[in-house]
């Protein structure tokens, strides 16, 4: 299970804005480590977000997304429900966190 994400979700009554900060190395597989060897690729390649059981975001990511990925997106909705965000990386590791919309 990956490291916890920080999720903020807030509504202005019509639109919910979600900001997520994930903890992940996002190794490209092209970087040489201190021993001179290539550090193996390890990066998040799938991100999904659901709100009240409905899919609101589906991201396909590659190694060019920065380390400790930040993501922000907006969709229709009011305060009170739960937003759930899940990431999966190429090793199959995954992390799911949720936040209540304020």
């Amino acid at each position: 299970m990956g490291s916890p994400m920080r999720i903020r979700a807030a509504s202005d009554g019509e639109m919910i804005e979600v900001k997520v900060l994930m903890r992940h190395e996002m190794e490209t597989g092209r970087r040489k480590g201190p021993d001179g060897e290539l550090v193996p690729a390890l990066y998040i390649n799938a991100v999904t977000a659901d709100y009240e059981g409905k899919r609101v975001f589906n991201g396909h990511w590659g190694p060019a997304v920065s380390k400790n990925p930040f993501l922000s997106f907006r969709f229709k909705g009011a305060a009170g429900g739960k937003v759930t965000v899940t990431w999966t990386d190429i090793s199959g590791d995954t992390r799911t966190d949720e936040a209540t919309v304020s």
Binding site: R30, F57, H60, W61, P63, A64, L71
Partner: protein, 159 residues
Amino acid sequence: MNPLMTRRDVLAASGKLALLGAMVNAGLITAAQAADAEWNEAAFEATTMEEFIKAIGASDMPVESTEVRLEAPDIPESGATVPVTLICGLPGTTALGILVDKNPNLLAAWCELPEGTEANVSLRIKMNETSDVRVLARAGDTLYMTSKEIKVTLGGCGG
């Protein structure tokens, strides 16, 4: 017509596809996950726009549009983390993608937007060197595009 079946016909020779099929049959991954895995491999391996268009199953090259916008610094502090906001003002935008011409592979991220989700996504990407950066937006069956040069003084891909 099941799109997965059609692609299976076309890619029948691919060993990786056979493996994915076997995993689906064994209940190790869902058909949706297998389709995603295929998608990721083809789209993220593209090094030219032509290859990318083909990988995502589009038939025409993207059309330049002023409705597609890229908000990003002209000169970010570091190529390791370039903040970008992808925007499309066209109704019925179902996906936004960000591509970096001079990165080892073109596609950085492709975001699918279900109905009700705004075509306005922010994230941070790595850039190896100064490059044209493109936002692609899919609205209906058409791809629209804008591009902007972002200057990188400190490369971000590990070089």
